[in-house]
């Protein structure tokens, strides 16, 4: 892809009203109150079947209610570091929300709140709705009321490969002839697995590695969020650990592109999804994790990333159903 994408950003001065201009009152704009009011029946579904994720009093995202007895799915990376997580469904707040499981490939967490009689989402029969179809999702919320925002399906369903490729999250000592670790990224799977500076990587998935290119070859087709077995040597002792893979460009985010700069807040984890549907609902990265509804109020997907100013990703309903069933089954077995 070309590095230089063309679109001028002009200062706000140029868009201030001047003589001879007509301007549409904000109520009647796509995100305006009067337009949003047309989506009241879908908003009511969000009221009962979406969950609000709270860090103390601050809303940090949304969730999908997937069972009457309190199972909720949300975007895992948005709640990863939250100490006092609570969940609001409809008008009731549940202070003791427990994270039971995380699927790191899809970046989905399963939560349980102590509740009964919740209204789970009704799944749509298929995510294969034509481009241009209306979709509705959580916009903002008050303590008691959800707000809706609408947009359309705007591109083909597809995989979003890990940006920059899947990576362990280590830098190697260039002076060493061995694959000696020089640094470990703080947000990486390598860090979680306990890898340290000075460790020497010997094998990955049982295959001997001696050059950095060989690591690249093994990781080339791996999914972000999946794990690989890494054998390393530390003080003459060999050890094997599972290391979670992350997108290289999400680990080493020292440079924002021009498109990032014009996008406002975007999701930290925004690549490496096996399958997504794309929509154009205007919003910040704080609105991920909730259901994506069609005009029937049925759940066609779950919002999983705000990629940039113009592109939002959702997990398609077929995959969402599979994830929900699998995680709930696993949680019940634990």
């Amino acid at each position: 892809m070309n590095a230089n994408l063309i679109l001028s950003v002009f200062s706000a001065l140029l868009v201030l009203p001047s003589a001879g201009q007509q301007s549409l009152e904000s109520n009647f704009r796509t995100t305006g109150a009067t337009v949003v009011a047309a989506f009241e029946s879908q908003r009511q579904v969000l009221q009962t079947s979406s969950a609000v994720m709270l860090n103390g009093r601050k809303e940090i995202g949304y969730g999908v209610v997937v069972s009457a007895d309190g199972y909720v799915l949300t975007k895992a990376s948005e709640i990863a570091e939250v100490k006092a997580l609570s969940v609001t469904v409809d008008q009731r707040n549940y202070p003791q929300a427990k994270v039971l499981l995380v699927d790191s490939v899809w970046d989905v967490a399963l939560l349980k709140v102590e509740a009964s009689g919740l209204v789970p989402v009704v799944y749509a029969p298929t995510s294969a709705v034509p481009q241009g179809s209306w979709v509705v999702a959580n916009g903002a919320t008050t303590r008691t009321n959800r707000r809706a925002l609408a947009g359309i399906i705007s591109a083909k369903i597809r995989e979003i490969p890990a940006a920059g490729g899947a990576a362990l999250g280590v830098t190697l000592n260039p002076k060493s002839k061995l694959l000696e670790i020089d640094g470990v990224n703080e947000k990486s799977g390598a860090k979680e697995a306990g890898l340290q500076k000075g460790d020497v990587i010997l094998t990955i998935e049982g295959r001997k590695v001696g050059k950095i290119e060989e690591i690249g070859e093994i990781l080339k087709d791996r999914k972000e969020g999946s794990t690989v077995k890494v054998t390393y040597r530390r003080n003459k002792e060999e050890k094997t650990v599972d290391v979670r893979l992350a997108a290289r460009s999400e680990l080493f985010t020292d440079q924002m592109t021009r498109n990032d700069q014009m996008s406002g807040k975007f999701s930290t984890r925004r690549s490496g999804f096996p399958r997504v549907m794309q929509h154009d609902i205007l919003g910040s990265s704080d609105v991920e994790g909730g259901p994506l509804l069609d005009l029937e109020g049925h759940c066609v997907g779950m919002n999983i990333a705000r990629a940039n100013r113009a592109e939002n990703y959702a997990i398609p309903v077929e995959d969402l159903k599979e994830i929900a069933a699998r995680m709930m089954k696993q949680a019940a077995g634990n």
């Binding site: 892809m1 679109l7 201009q21 337009v35 009011a37 705007s154």
Partner: protein, 332 residues
């Protein structure tokens, strides 16, 4: 108050009440556009139905434009491959660009005219063929609040994804700019803005800080300058494209006169247009644009009259063999 006056005021009321009806009667215009906002499932369905029905044709005509400086978007408006885009995507007149269709087909094209002060430009596909195209709104029928949709290759061409469609309303209209709440991003520049009947009403130009500040060049700017655009003229002074200045172009080589005529190349600049074209030290330049070269000053004088980006034709001896090549002058 006289009866006459009462009559008058009734009449003006009537006229106001009649206005939406006139708009309603306009051919192909969706009734929802004449409501302040959609307020029923029927209204939402009507918007969705129109959009889905016109989208395939609009998408087929939307292209990605690749130039040396980056990538933008554009839209085909005639079966023989006339494309409208933004001036800051075309960057100038008579430049070689590559067009990428939705299915990934790449085509050679050349920029025609630009309107540098309002960001309008035209490109022509130079390969013969019949191309998918869309109709232009020539009647300036777009109104404030109309539902519109944007297409473009956001972030560059991506075959798996296709061009990205966004729905919004016309939220501000001024003489040379439309503003919509269809969110645009880098790579969308030059892409099309359509009304819900599938007619082209604008070309994406720029964004402001807010998500709702997305600026488009109205069709009227293109229609007004159509002849100049077709004739590959540079209109206006900027800021969206810079007029090529004489004397800014360079070949990137040093020469000395040869007794038997021609100029021997004594040095080729690293990464210069000459190096890229394959010219080597020891080659002999014989002609530039059909003018025989005998003195160094002669070459300098010819270049002084040209600008960066201009195409030049060189006849030379390369490894002793006659050769003709064309290259574009670099920018000093």
């Amino acid at each position: 108050m006289t009866l006459k006056n009462v009559m008058k005021s009734r009449l003006s009321c009537l006229l106001i009440a009649l206005l939406p009806w006139c708009a309603f009667a306009q051919e192909g215009r969706l009734y929802v556009n004449d409501k302040k906002a959609p307020d029923s499932r029927k209204d939402l369905d009507a918007i969705q139905k129109s959009l889905i029905s016109v989208l395939p044709k609009a998408r087929a005509a939307t292209v990605c434009i690749e130039i040396s400086e980056g990538s933008g978007s554009g839209v085909i408006v005639s079966p023989d491959g006339l494309i409208l885009t933004a001036a800051h995507v075309a960057t100038g007149v008579k430049k070689k660009v590559t067009i990428v269709l939705e299915d990934g087909t790449k085509l050679k094209a050349e920029t025609l005219g630009v309107v540098a002060d309002t960001d309008a430009a035209m490109i022509k596909i130079t390969e013969k063929g019949t191309y998918p195209f869309i109709d232009i709104d020539r009647a300036e029928s777009a109104r404030l609040g109309d539902w519109v949709f944007a297409l473009g290759h956001s972030g560059g061409f991506d075959k798996e994804r296709g061009s990205v469609v966004r729905l919004g309303r016309l939220v501000r209209m001024a003489n040379s700019t439309f503003q919509s709440d269809c969110t645009l991003i880098g790579g969308d520049s030059g892409g099309p803005l359509f009304d819900l009947s599938g007619k082209l009403i604008g070309i994406h130009s720029r964004v402001g800080q807010q998500l709702q500040s997305n600026m488009h060049v109205p069709m009227s700017e293109f229609i007004k300058n159509w002849e100049s655009l077709e004739k590959a003229e540079f209109v206006g002074e900027g800021p969206f494209a810079k007029k090529p200045e004489k004397g800014t172009g360079f070949l990137g080589l040093a020469t000395e006169a040869r007794k038997e005529g021609g100029l021997r190349v004594t040095k080729v600049g690293s990464k210069s247009p000459s190096e890229t074209a394959g010219i080597k030290e020891g080659d002999v330049l014989l002609k530039l644009n059909e003018t025989a070269l005998e003195k160094r000053e002669q070459l300098q004088d010819l270049l002084k009259e040209m600008a960066a980006g201009d195409e030049v034709k060189l006849d030379l001896l390369h490894d002793g063999k006659p050769q003709t090549l064309t290259l574009n002058l670099g920018e000093r």
